[in-house]
Subunit: 181 residues, 2 copies
């Protein structure tokens, strides 16, 4: 889909970090004028809506420095270079919650901030959960608390803005529909 295409006139790399890169692009607009776009490159991420046999959603609480607070989210993580994204999702679920799933399916992908970033997040559904015996350890700079909540409890946490991110907001609506709430 190239409607209203903005052609790149020039591109300058400003920062290349461990997770993100920042690029400035001068573009030509459909009317011939020029504009500057500030763009973040991100490797992409996965997230998992994991639902227990008693219809609870598995969440993790973690501190998000960008927000200067901790929030409650569905398990998620960045895609490592060359890693298959479904395997990333299975790995992240195990690392963050200790769960494996016998019914792991793809839901949907979306860009989180298309105005300035190319981050795509791929959402999976994990049901028929079991506890992995010796789960793989998580990242050493990641501190998390696991919660299992009913849909009602999750909706309450949305109201209180303890749940406060796009993928989790989407996942809760999805779970509500799935569980016919």
């Amino acid at each position: 889909m190239n409607r209203f295409e903005e052609k790149t006139i020039s591109s300058t790399n400003v920062y290349k970090g461990r997770v993100i890169e920042l690029r400035l692009e001068e573009v030509e607009l459909p009317d011939g004028n020029h504009a500057l776009r500030e763009l973040i490159d991100h490797p992409g991420a996965v997230a998992v809506l994991a639902i227990t046999d008693d219809n609870k959603i598995v969440f993790v609480e973690q501190y998000r420095k960008a927000l200067n607070r901790s929030i409650i989210e569905i398990p998620a993580g960045k895609i490592e270079p060359g890693e298959d994204k479904e395997l990333t999702a299975i790995r992240e679920l195990e690392e963050e919650t200790g769960y494996g799933s016998r019914a792991f399916t793809y839901i949907q992908s979306f860009a989180t901030s298309p105005g300035f970033a190319n981050e795509i997040i791929h959402i999976y559904l994990a049901r028929d959960l079991y506890k992995v015996e010796n789960p793989a350890p998580g990242d050493e700079d990641e501190f998390i608390r696991i919660l299992e909540c009913t849909i009602e409890e999750a909706k309450q946490m949305v109201q209180e803005e303890q749940i406060y991110d796009a993928k989790t907001a989407f996942a809760i609506l999805y779970a509500e529909k799935l569980l016919d709430f």
Copy 2:
């Protein structure tokens, strides 16, 4: 909520642009170790789920340079400095679609990419729409096409990844529930 707080040890501004800023922060983790966080500051945004009297959702198609393609989204825009976010939402709906609303309500706010950005998007619901006679013009570097689609058509566009962003994915699930689809 400060569980697992990461205390800032040092902060360096790397880039200050028209829309975003990039900051590097060295933080102290709960176990005393240090880590680097790459953080994007963003002024925040609003988005509007506008539903016509015949239960169609109003979308805009626009080119997103970050994705190098055009996608179909609900109307949205950045919050200007000092601007009340509900007024931003009303303004963006008018500028992008020519619609006003006699039943404008707040739905929910969420961070789009809490792993690296502080962008919060505030979602509003607009019903009882009317055409504004002389709508305010939009940004001069913004080229958009307006679409009005049924829920079924919107779900098809999700399948085809023409709809491909977090706020719109959330809005469609919300509309499905609202319209009891």
